[in-house]
Subunit: 213 residues, 2 copies
């Protein structure tokens, strides 16, 4: 019901326009709709832009070190959530099983990064996914399991299940567990001129205490 909680109708209008345009044409994609909670922020504010990109997206690539592949970096497509809609924390939470290599690798070597592209949000227009005006972020740090009985794990599950409805029904015998990336470095590209300096402190500054809203 996210789309109905918006404060103004701009996206609904865009959605309806788009539906009309798409159905007027011959070829169209079938990607389920993504409704954005917040407008794309001004890119002059790096921390706010970074938080927006992390909160609005739902999947990315989680990279770990593959000890059984000569220590190569191993990127894996995963879903994530940084909070329930409108309540992003900036921390990417994952729901992983050691049946998959990524969780196994992380338990041996916590070094990790998580990479998100703006491209799937549909806000890049017709430019190429590698064009720097289509933003991308790489959060580098340590991938750690969240203590199963903790308050944080409960919060993270709510965050994950709110954006990934089927997750809560994933097989119990796969023993999915909550993981999080403890962020140490932020690499953000959202325009020409190289990466934008965003410190971890700036990224986690609470709303209304420095972040432009």
């Amino acid at each position: 019901m996210d789309m109905f909680m918006m404060r103004n109708g701009k996206y609904v209008l865009n959605l309806i326009s788009f539906v009309l345009i798409v159905f007027g044409g011959s070829v169209h994609s079938t990607i389920p709709i993504r409704t954005l909670s917040q407008d794309r922020p001004n890119r002059s504010n790096g921390p706010t832009f970074a938080r927006w990109l992390v909160s609005e997206n739902t999947w990315g690539v989680l990279s770990t070190i593959a000890d059984d592949l000569g220590g190569a970096p191993f990127g894996d497509v995963v879903s994530y959530s940084d909070g329930e809609p409108y309540h992003g924390t900036g921390i990417p939470y994952f729901y992983l099983t050691t049946l998959d290599p990524t969780a196994r690798y992380a338990l041996k070597d916590h070094r990790s990064s998580f990479t998100i592209s703006e491209y799937p949000l549909g806000t890049c227009g017709k430019i190429d996914p590698e064009n720097p005006t289509c933003s991308k972020i790489t959060l580098t740090g340590k991938l750690n399991e969240v203590e199963a009985k903790s308050e944080e794990a409960g919060m993270a599950k709510k965050a994950l299940f709110s954006k990934h409805v089927e997750m809560k029904n994933w097989p119990k015998d796969h023993t999915f567990k909550v993981y999080k990336l403890d962020i140490e470095d932020i690499f953000l590209i959202d325009f020409y001129g190289g990466s934008k300096s965003v410190t971890v402190d700036q990224y986690f500054l609470p709303k209304n205490e420095g972040r432009q809203e």
Copy 2:
């Protein structure tokens, strides 16, 4: 336009439902339209499925080892091409500049992986991006620069520019160069039950010599 402005979504819901019912389809996103060259193959044939996924997609995450981030794996959103449409080689070619960290990292440590999700193709339906029936592939190997004057570099540029039209106009002073991933390991998930065994030899078997077309 009042009906778009209200916070209570009831009328918006009705309007959207009406538009959808009238136009008779499912909901669609605003991501630029991707037209697929080939139908999604039968997933019982791992090598063919892997080649399809690599040939049909246009972007992914290229992971390298970040020597300036404590040797962490660093995933970067990049565009790629494995050949002109209908002429995929299976080899992902990239157009990278050492102004970006990924190319710099690769020149110091060639270990790398390239990760692609089926999700942006729009062929996964309404399932979650992490659902194993929405396929994903991680190609692990060495990321190497292709000799600039070589026939392969010329072919790779044609392959890249055919799928990324703006690339050929990217700034000359950024000295973009062609790189390729020399694949050593293939991790393919396209269904329940864990990764599918696809050897590099099977992946590169020419058409009509073992791959189901």
